[in-house]
């Protein structure tokens, strides 16, 4: 099967005043179209570095990163990035936040793109909040707006950098479901970085486990769950077993 994203023997070195830090040591993995993959690993192992490299915010010291068989460019426009916090701009309305990307790329007047943005808002129950300011929305809604802001640009691959870590536990489960549903119904491919094993298990088709720094891929685990939503997956009999398996691999 043809892969959407491929890491081929990627190395990365950070330069600091004191010395050179080897963050990634020969990372190899690939991601299928329309799949959901999670990266887990010990904290500080270089998960976020992998996302930054994929987004083209950093360039690998050696090795190759291919998206649709083409190398990643600087600030690659085929990538959408979601951060730990929603980073909605408080001085803009929800609508203005959502079309920020279009504005930056001078597509603010493109009727097709605008119609798409509007459609997304309607589909995910945010249309009535179009003219509200971010502070008037709940944490979960804000995270949904942040996701739509990314989707408006129609990225081939979505990068999620612990996008739920700033939410309280209850909101987190709900938003997890919401985000998962949106990603699936828009037929997007996603790469999630998280330190929360159950989050990785409940959302992904595949979990990639990294070693501690310098990071390389320790093992990949394909998940067999067939339930529709992340919340339902948490109820699966096998959930606990897979949790243990990943936990053992991490320590």
């Amino acid at each position: 099967m043809k892969m959407l994203l491929e890491f081929k023997n990627v190395n990365y070195f950070y330069q600091t005043k004191e010395n050179e830090i080897n963050a990634l040591d020969g990372v190899n993995f690939s991601i299928e179209h329309e799949s959901f993959t999670s990266l887990v690993g010990p904290s500080g192992c270089g998960k976020t570095t992998i996302l930054s490299l994929t987004a083209g915010l950093l360039t690998p010291s050696s090795g190759e990163i291919l998206l649709d068989d083409k190398p990643i460019e600087k600030n690659d426009s085929r990538i959408g990035y979601m951060f730990q916090r929603d980073h909605l701009f408080e001085w803009r309305t929800i609508w203005q936040n959502i079309i920020l990307g279009l504005e930056l790329q001078k597509m603010k007047k493109d009727p097709k793109k605008l119609a798409f943005a509007e459609e997304l808002l309607k589909k995910y129950d945010l249309y009535n909040f179009k003219n509200k300011k971010p502070r008037q929305l709940s944490g979960g809604m804000r995270q949904r707006v942040a996701l739509i802001r990314t989707l408006v640009l129609e990225p081939a691959l979505l990068l999620l950098d612990e996008p739920f870590s700033a939410l309280d536990f209850q909101t987190r489960l709900k938003v997890c479901d919401d985000v998962y549903e949106i990603i699936k119904s828009e037929k997007k491919t996603a790469l999630l970085v998280t330190h929360d094993i159950s989050e990785a298990l409940s959302m992904s088709d595949k979990v990639i486990i990294l070693t501690k720094r310098p990071a390389s891929v320790k093992t990949e685990i394909k998940l067999p769950f067939t339930e529709a939503s992340p919340l339902a997956k948490r109820e699966d009999k096998e959930f606990g077993n897979y949790f243990d398996m990943i936990w053992r691999n991490l320590t």
């Binding site: 600030n75 426009s77 990035y81 951060f83 980073h87 990307g101 504005e103 930056l104 502070r135």
Partner: protein, 267 residues
């Protein structure tokens, strides 16, 4: 706001009543303080416990203001100071802001200029007074330059700090959406720093009045600073006190014009 005809609970009514009473009480005492202050001052001056020659008195200040208005070009002095302050305030804020943008834009320039900013900021600007008079001549020009010197560096420093303190993830977000540097500046850095800008404006109102009065002390033929200086030289301290009262009113007026901005952006 429309009066709502909702039936509040007893506790709610009591709470609202307490809130209102508290507010009335505070305003009452605020007025009481100024009335008592003026009253005691007037009484002490009237009975001779305070020598009105040195301490003036509210009634003498009022009379002096009326006299100055009739014969002493009071409005010329007010206008001169107001004009110098506003021009100085606007120019200093604009120059300081633009400097901050330049320093934000180029990290190299920032690193080169940083020590000089610190030196200029710690220099008491009044020390430059004599030089200013040689450079731009005495009068309004010198006062405005003094005003600018006092406000500009602090504006640059506080705005630069506001620009730099912008969340790095927000900048990454902009970059991940292909923002160019000028777009990051205009669509993120500047709107994000509006609360700090409002604070800078508020501080600059106070500072530019300091600049104006200092400038007028140094050399001037009109203005409230001139009037204060003149009053003390001819030993008419009533004129000095009257000018200070007017200065108080003007400075707080300007402050109240600017401070709603801060409330608007600080949420």
């Amino acid at each position: 706001m429309k009066k709502r005809t909702v039936n509040y609970s007893k506790a709610r009514k009591l709470y609202l009543k307490r809130q209102r009473n508290d507010k009335i009480l505070v305003i009452f005492f605020q007025i009481a303080v100024i009335v008592a202050f003026l009253g005691i001052w007037e009484l002490l001056a009237y009975t001779g416990a305070l020598d009105p020659f040195f301490f003036s008195s509210p009634s003498r200040i009022a009379v002096t203001i009326v006299d100055l208005a009739k014969t002493g070009n009071l409005f010329l002095h007010i206008w001169t100071s107001l004009y110098e302050t506003i021009i100085g305030f606007v120019l200093a804020t604009a120059i300081g802001y633009i400097l901050a943008i330049i320093l934000w834009w180029s990290e190299k320039v920032r690193r080169v200029l940083e020590p000089y900013l610190i030196i200029l900021n710690s220099l008491p600007k009044i020390a430059l007074g004599p030089m200013i008079i040689f450079w731009v001549g005495s009068g309004t020009g010198a006062t405005i330059v003094m005003c600018i010197l006092i406000c500009v560096i602090i504006t640059t420093i506080s705005m630069l700090n506001a620009f730099i303190s912008c969340d790095n993830d927000k900048i990454l977000l902009m970059k991940s959406m292909h923002a160019k540097k000028y777009q990051i500046l205009f669509k993120l850095i500047i709107p994000n720093s509006l609360p700090e800008f409002a604070t800078a404006l508020k501080i600059n109102v106070g500072m530019s009045w300091v600049g104006t009065i200092m400038g007028e002390y140094l050399s001037s033929r009109a203005g409230l600073g001139y009037l204060i200086n003149y009053g003390s030289q001819i030993l008419k301290l009533d004129i000095v006190m009257a000018s200070i009262v007017i200065l108080c009113i003007l400075a707080s007026g300007m402050y109240f014009l600017v401070s709603p901005l801060e409330k608007r952006y600080k949420k």
